[in-house]
């Protein structure tokens, strides 16, 4: 364990054949059992350094069925109960506009028994009515967060419908403004919402997306999300990738626990280096990243540093390197070395393909292109089987009839529950951890 409490391990085949250019590595980042106290007071988890906002959909559709708004109120109350003492929190309601529910003046409150009780009382008075403009909700949350000194900012967004009362451009602009200000876990209740819409928000805001098909499941889900958020201790951690002058970063993807392509999220960090956001970290958390670099080949026997991958915490006092790993390239004429495929690289390449096959297959099915849908979902069935991703295999089996799991021969089911299809879509990016 390094002094900072974070470890960075690199798994790769460093050997390239003569003229080889492509270097691929799995970088495993693990935070220590006590990641607190790293970057000053802002990082103390569950302490005054954290802020939480619950954003709750109060559009008219939340009344149908009536239990939806009731369960949403109960879930919000359950989440409020889990907010630790001293943490800043607020509740926001959204329709075609947004307003602060608690505190009513649009500030944030410190959690204690009386503020929690007051919040729950305010939430109990929520009624449904009006439209859906998620961009407005996010903008209000952003303004409330920005007036608060806490560094670890996290929101939970609940909706049951599509973003109908503002343009997709307005939503995209709002999301862009919220990037880097707070992270956001999104939940869709029922089956009338758009998976791709919420996934765009959760990906940009470094959070998760999931379906809660039955409103009665909301309270447990909200409490669990809040528990997880309370565990975060280090804010604003970035993966910094340095590469040689003539090299190019092809991609940087988080591959465990979920697939999340960070390639387009690069911000410059000085010459030959770029930062990719990873959000906040809790103690003992471990994630895998797949880094692909194209290098200029050198002669047989030569060695090159293809990438230096650092975990960097950014704070007003500057960047602090929490851990570091080296990705190497060595050119060899020994084919036994250069043709060896690193098993973890292979595993995660397969998991990323699995996620893509599911999303493309479901999209084709929606468009009525049964041939493509059958091929893509069949490929997904085979990949899930080969990699031991049983959860995804089970979700796939609700959408297709599996004829032969080895070859991925499937038939599309005639009748598919909307909730099953949406669950498969939202959970398609969940991966199985590759053994070390």
């Amino acid at each position: 364990m390094t002094e900072s409490g974070f470890t960075v391990d690199v798994d790769q085949n460093q050997y390239l054949p003569e003229g080889g250019r492509d270097v691929s590595a799995i970088v495993t980042v693990t935070s220590g059992p006590d990641a607190a106290g790293l970057s000053g007071p802002a990082s103390a988890g569950g302490e005054p350094g954290s802020a939480e906002i619950i954003i709750i959909d109060c559009s008219g559709s939340m009344e149908y069925p009536r239990t939806k708004i009731a369960e949403a109120r109960a879930a919000t109350a359950a989440a409020v109960d889990v907010v630790r003492d001293g943490v800043w929190f607020a509740v926001v309601a959204g329709t075609n506009t947004a307003w602060p529910v608690f505190p009513a003046d649009g500030s944030m409150a410190r959690a204690d028994s009386s503020s929690r009780a007051a919040a729950k009382q305010a939430v109990a008075g929520l009624r449904a009515g009006g439209g859906t403009a998620i961009g407005q909700w996010l903008q209000l949350a952003r303004r409330i967060f920005q007036a608060c000194p806490a560094k670890l900012r996290h929101a939970i967004l609940l909706t049951d419908g599509k973003n109908q009362h503002e343009s997709s451009e307005e939503l995209a602009a709002a999301v862009r403004q919220c990037e880097g200000v707070f992270s956001c876990d999104c939940r869709g209740v029922g089956t009338d919402w758009e998976v791709s819409e919420l996934r765009t928000i959760s990906t940009a805001l470094l959070g998760t997306v999931d379906i809660v098909p039955d409103p009665s499941g909301l309270a447990a889900d909200f409490a669990a999300m809040m528990e997880s958020a309370m565990g975060k201790q280090v804010a604003d951690v970035a993966l910094r990738v340095w590469t040689p002058q003539t090299a190019t970063v092809k991609f940087v993807k988080q591959v465990a626990p979920t697939v999340d392509d960070l390639t387009g999220r690069r911000t410059s960090a000085g010459p030959q280096a770029g930062d990719y956001p990873t959000g906040a970290w809790g103690p003992g958390e471990s994630r895998d990243y797949h880094v692909g670099v194209e290098v200029t080949p050198a002669g047989i026997g030569q060695e090159m540093l293809a990438a230096r991958v650092s975990l960097v915490a950014t704070s007003p006092s500057g960047a602090e390197v929490l851990g570091q790993g080296l990705v190497r390239a060595i050119w060899t004429d020994d084919e036994a070395l250069s043709t060896k495929i690193n098993p973890r690289v292979a595993h995660y390449t397969g998991q990323a393909e699995l996620a893509a096959a599911i999303q493309e297959g479901l999209e084709a099915r929606k468009q009525g292109d049964e041939e493509t849908a059958t091929a893509k979902l069949g490929r997904a069935v085979a990949l899930a089987h080969q990699s031991g991703n049983e959860d995804t295999a089970k979700l796939l089996a609700k959408v297709v009839d599996v004829v032969d799991v080895e070859t991925g021969t499937v038939r599309l089911k005639k009748q598919v529950e909307d909730a099953d299809e949406m669950a498969l879509d939202t959970r398609s990016t969940k991966t199985v951890r590759a053994k070390k």
């Binding site: 590469t243 040689p244 002058q245 003539t246 090299a247 030959q272 290098v295 050198a298 002669g299 047989i300 026997g301 030569q302 060695e303 090159m304 540093l305 293809a306 230096r308 080296l326 060595i330 060899t332 020994d334």
Partner: protein, 360 residues
């Protein structure tokens, strides 16, 4: 201590004050007397990127702590790619070879006078490539061991006892470099050559040989799967060496092996010859003692440095697939020249840098 007659008095090469042959340091100026010669980068060596330093379009770039060019990423020679050590009584050459990106072998030599006559000391360590920082491991082990041997032999310890003390201190040096999970590791072989015998001590598959016109023999046995299979009669030597496990070693120095069991062997040469201490980069291409004797003799009896360089060239010509280290000492030892020798250190570019395989 001794009761016999002391060898003739000597003077410090630095200040000229008289010193005792058993002194480690000059009593008047503190200069280390007969300091061991170690295959470290020469003093004042500044690493420089071989690519960017000759490209006028490329600004001079810093070299990172891990030894990479901060501009083009190229691994920069550490100054250990090739070195030659000559102490007169014995000499050694180590080289990166043609296929490895760096030299993970290390060697350390020393000579000292004792009441019983001159003693020559040699240590060769080969970093275990699958462990972290193997180059640091081999150097730390060789360095710690040769100093321990020198102190122990000067104190009058028996060679076997001195050898075991040295390997223990080398193990401690490596334990400090890492932990059980991250353990820089190296093989180890030492030779203590005195007027009557050769005492060798080893862990792993670096070797010591006795080379002579007749009766050439290997003095060490490898801690390797191949050697174990041969010893148990499961395989013939040639078949074992051809197997993929031939180089899997079963013992080494490193924090991950809590209690290494070094082997010690003593050999009394029946006549003149030469002691060879080497890493597997040499013996891969000629494992037989008689074959090595044919390559090295008679030149090794009079020119240990030139012959060690010849043996390294032999391994490079044969493929140079691994790092190569060769130490030779003619036996019996010649008397030590008056005044402690100053260890010369001749850094050279690695032989592999001179071949056409590498871009300029």
């Amino acid at each position: 201590m001794t009761t016999g007659p002391l060898p003739p008095a000597r003077v410090c090469p630095s200040c000229g004050a008289p010193v005792e042959v058993t002194d480690s340091f000059c009593e008047s100026c503190g200069t280390e007397l007969a300091a061991p010669a170690i295959s470290t980068p020469p003093a004042g060596y500044t690493p420089e990127c071989p690519v960017c330093s000759v490209d006028p379009a490329c600004p001079p770039a810093a070299i990172s702590a891990e030894g990479y060019c901060e501009s083009c990423g190229r691994k920069v020679p550490s100054g250990r790619d090739h070195s030659e050590l000559d102490l007169g009584l014995l000499a050694g050459v180590t080289d990166r070879g043609l296929r490895h990106p760096r030299n993970e072998d290390a060697m350390a030599l020393a000579t000292t006078d004792t009441p019983g006559g001159p003693v020559a000391l040699a240590v060769v360590c080969d970093g275990v490539s699958t462990s972290p920082r193997p180059d640091e491991a081999s150097l730390a082990a060789a360095q710690a061991a040769v100093r321990a041997l020198l102190t122990s032999v000067r104190r009058g310890d028996e060679p076997a006892e001195a050898s075991l003390t040295a390997v223990r201190l080398a193990h401690q040096a490596l334990a400090k470099l890492g932990s059980r999970g991250q353990a820089p590791s190296a093989t180890y072989v030492s030779a203590v050559i005195d007027s009557g015998a050769i005492t060798v001590c080893w862990l792993g598959d670096s070797r010591a040989y006795w080379l002579a016109g007749s009766g050439a023999t290997r003095l060490s046995t490898d801690d390797s799967l191949a050697e174990e299979m041969v010893a148990e009669g499961m395989l013939a030597e040639a078949d074992a060496m051809a197997s993929p496990q031939a180089h899997v070693i079963t013992s080494w120095l490193g924090a991950d092996l809590a209690d290494p069991r070094p082997h010690v062997a003593r050999f009394e040469p029946p006549g003149p010859g030469a002691v060879l201490v080497c890493s597997d980069g040499l013996w891969n291409y000629q494992p037989q003692a008689t074959g090595l004797a044919e390559l090295a003799l008679p030149a090794a009896l009079t020119d240990p440095l030139g012959t060690a360089a010849e043996l390294v060239k032999f391994a490079l010509d044969a493929g140079g697939i691994d790092n190569i280290t060769v130490v030779l000492a003619p036996f019996p030892l010649a008397p030590l020249a008056t005044g402690p020798p100053h260890p010369p250190h001749r850094p050279h570019p690695a032989a592999s840098d001179l071949t056409e395989e590498n871009p300029p």
